[in-house]
Symmetry: C2
Subunit: 568 residues, 2 copies
């Protein structure tokens, strides 16, 4: 049995491998090295430290019983030796040696291994923008950066900030700056939406409005071209295509790149995204070298392609698998369906699988449903609307992706988590219609929002439901391409009919079958109700009565309001 | 295509079938009958109406847009005719006729059908106890009963109540009586735990303590033998095996029985639990007659046996399937994994699959893990402990059941829902270890509680983890059969060592490897820490150092406290 194990990296996966191995067998000689002095920390907690939810930075590297996870802790509690401030220089694969350098002394040392584990993680990508190296330009790279950012803010040095990139970390940092510190924060994002890699536009639009409501400024489809300031006093402004943004702090969150330099030099295979390639047993192209976490590519189980998925949750699971396999057990990591969630002020979003555009890109013919429904029995007092976006392939009816957003984050995540594990097996729409989740009025509807998302998609695929997205609707209405029939009760529709006159007609559902002669001819008709259920029923009725060119707004007025809060 | 459809029952499944059919084709002649005048209501909401969460009873039969779901609503909005106060008398299967009786006039009528749907639900079982027919003895059968109970309470007629049966409805009613109205409430349950059909003893014990903490009195392993009172003034007390309980109100919640009288008389096949037998297309033994909801038996997909599962959620899903099939589409209902959840004061519990004793009964050799861990990143401020009980078959490692309890109900339900849909496919322990659920610190741990439940069970199955349940532990400790080593820090252990002396020794984990000579010989040793993680690591260390007859308390001190709040 291989007994000498060297592990490079001591943040998430590295310590997991080490501790599990130690529990499996006391005789392993385990050496863990890390460039940093701070190890085994929850990097994903940094925005919550900056934002004050976590008062002390030690919270990010303490156990749940408040022990600091430093080298001393690993030695006394776990029986594992960790060498901080040591970096990997070169792998000599033939000799199974790792050359390392002690950063404080410059001294080099050669470590023999039977198995080597690469857990070097990823580093924030720093876009090549002039001024990117000025003081007060930060990436959210590690606890030192976190501490520096919080120090600057708490000393009152930051009145205005610019965040470059609207990925998860950028948004979380913007919330932290705005919410606790009242920093005037602008996010500049190249794509035309926030979270472009994770979410489609229906759900991201809801989040964009929520960010704006909470005081974060958004500049989408926009690039930072230059950062101005001086090397003493820091930054003064950033230049974008559409003007200058004054600021005292810049946070760069433009994605990450796997740390694979010395591994690549040793000839280990790397994929298109720059991550190490591993098999299902987490072995690299050298069977004596394992890798996992943010520095590898993993298989996306929905589209079969490789991707980088920098999440502590995956790293921890992979760590256990690597230890099992070093110990001679055949554990497998099959890939990821891209499960993701985020808290943004009072809302939360979650997703798994592909977005609409990702599905189209690889050749699917995706069909999607948008459902707005209360997240628990609608008569239960704490119920709130949840929005679900469900995507299937038209031909096979296979579910390709699910996205959800709402106000009760555990409930939002719960709905996505109930579908995610099924995506890899190829669940179809019917299975979502009948998906069995636990039911009681305080936590779900009898016909739950997740089942209804399936039902709606089923009706769309069957050609029975003719939906229009709220964004498409607002555009068509504003350009006078459609006529609207509001099928809610008079009282609900009145503000709209008063404002828009004959362009926004009101025929309540209960009166529709007797007022068919009032249905206007000519332009396409779009039916609107509160959440989309009544307008769908009315569309069916009109179709059955011989009317065509009729659609209904998916998610109804609730979705219109969530994506276009200014629309009445 | 069959055009005349008669539906018996208009609460959950019946209206769903009718409305879906109407949307599928306007030409169906659909007749829905119901014995009651109030229809299409959320019966599972009754406890929340009694408890005041839902102020008006109309909330239970209104749509989310506040329209009352009465026959008029179904006619004008849904194009469906519902005949209230009409009961089914006899099916003449050969002639495809249903004889019905108008309850207000006594008049009988014969309805022709091409397809008949039986959606008669279930009725509360009234145990044959002397006095069961006295006034102020209620079952939670329908909205009339709900209204009557609330009226009595709100008029101040109820100071003390007895609830017979600690199933979901009994517990929810006890909470409603205690919480809003301050009624002195005792639940009397024959089994030795609450929710005996749904939960194993580890999780039910946590709930029992929570009920007691909130002022509900519990009498377990106890029977009501007589109800005393008189036919004018109502009840005065109930008699149990261990004495008399004074009370002004009795709520019977001793389970339900499927309403299948006229269907059985017509010769339709019925299973062992008294429910109609249906195939996967929801057809009874007569292919022209469908049935669904609380009056049928469904297949438990974990043990393959039939069961009654009276839940509005299943009824609604089955209703859509029945309509699809009448319309000529082959939709299937494959069964249930018994998903269940309940809110109890500030806690919630959820489960899917089998309990430990159910698994044993049918011949499995079940192994279980109990995990106590925070429901989000432990450093995130709102994190709270969640307790998960995971069961697998020893030989095949197949997951047989999962139970969870905690303070954030959506999170509890979410964890169970992420496993439940996989139970039918036969998920094994390894798949729980690597289960991919969405991760962000506000909603999950990097190694989430659900994955850790898998990891712990995996370690138990591998013979590496030797656990003891908290209940077993307290019993063994109280009878002096074990010695305890508390591996927490001195400060945490001090109250215990002070109280128990040498029976409760303290060696913190960090000191253990240097204090091996202090490990007492003789009695078995049980290691205790905060939640079970450290004591497991210490058990491993002691095993590696040659000590045997050592176990650790699953869920640690947290679980001891949750199951035995009186134990220091």
């Amino acid at each position: 049995m291989p007994k000498r194990v060297v592990i490079v990296g001591a943040v998430a996966l590295g310590p997991k491998v080490a501790c599990r191995l130690r529990r499996l067998d006391p005789d392993y000689q385990i050496t863990v090295i890390d460039r940093d002095s701070l190890i085994s920390y929850g990097g994903c907690g940094i925005p919550y430290y900056v934002g004050g939810d976590i008062p002390d930075i030690e919270g990010l590297y303490s156990t749940s019983s408040h022990a600091l996870r430093d080298p001393e802790f690993f030695r006394t509690h776990k029986g594992v030796d960790i060498m901080p401030r040591v970096e990997a220089v070169r792998i000599e694969r033939k000799e199974k040696k790792l050359l390392v350098r002690h950063l404080d002394t410059g001294q080099e040392e050669s470590l023999d291994y039977d198995k080597l584990v690469i857990a070097t993680g990823a580093s924030p990508f720093k876009p090549p923008i002039p001024g990117a190296d000025l003081p007060m330009v930060f990436t959210v790279s590690n606890l030192h950066a976190a501490r520096a950012i919080k120090e600057k803010i708490s000393q009152g040095q930051v009145g205005k900030a610019v965040v470059i990139g609207a990925g998860a970390i950028g948004i979380e940092m913007a919330e932290a700056l705005t919410d606790l510190w009242g920093v005037d924060t602008t996010i500049v994002e190249m794509a035309d939406q926030v979270l472009p890699a994770a979410l489609g536009k229906n759900i991201s639009k809801v989040l964009e409005n929520h960010l704006i409501e909470n005081g974060v400024k958004l500049m989408l489809s926009e690039k930072v071209t230059r950062i101005d300031g001086d090397t003493d006093s820091g930054v003064t402004s950033v230049e974008t295509g559409s003007g200058t943004l004054e600021c005292d702090l810049v946070v760069m969150s433009a994605g990450v790149r796997p740390n694979t330099g010395f591994a690549q030099e040793a000839g280990l295979a790397v994929g298109n995204s720059g991550g190490l390639l591993v098999d299902r047993g987490m072995r690299t192209s050298d069977p004596h070298i394992y890798a996992g976490g943010d520095c590898i590519e993993m298989r996306n189980q929905v589209n079969g392609e490789n991707m980088i998925m920098p999440l502590g949750s995956l790293a921890n699971r992979q760590g256990r698998i690597i230890a099992n396999n070093i110990h001679g057990r055949a554990s497998k990591f099959r890939g990821t369906v891209g499960s993701f969630c985020i808290k943004i002020f009072d809302m939360a979003a979650a997703k798994a699988g592909l977005t609409l555009s990702q599905a189209r890109e690889i050749g699917y013919d995706p069909v999607h449903a948008v459902v707005a429904q209360s997240d628990r029995a609608h008569f239960y007092p704490s119920s709130q609307l949840m929005y679900i976006h469900l995507i299937a392939d038209r031909r096979t009816r296979r579910i390709l992706g699910i996205e959800a957003v709402g106000y009760q984050g555990d409930a939002v995540k719960g709905r996505v988590d109930s579908i995610a594990p099924l995506l890899q097996e190829g669940i179809d729409v019917d299975e979502v219609c009948t998906l069995e989740t636990a039911y009681a009025p305080p936590f779900a509807s009898a016909m739950d929002v997740i089942n209804n998302a399936g039902n709606v998609l089923d009706n769309i695929l069957d050609g029975r439901n003719h939906p229009m997205d709220s964004m498409e609707f607002v555009d068509a209405f504003n350009h006078d391409r459609i006529r609207v029939i509001d099928v809610r009760e008079h009282k609900e529709a009145e503000p709209f009919t008063a404002k828009y006159g004959e362009r926004w007609m009101n025929i309540p559902q209960s009166e529709l079958r007797h007022r068919l002669d009032e249905i206007p001819k000519g332009k396409p008709i779009c039916l609107v109700c509160g959440t989309g259920a009544r307008s769908y029923e009315c569309q069916i009725l009109l179709n059955q009565k011989g009317f065509h060119n009729i659609c209904n707004v998916q998610g109804g007025h609730a979705m219109i309001l969530a994506t276009h809060p200014g629309f009445i």
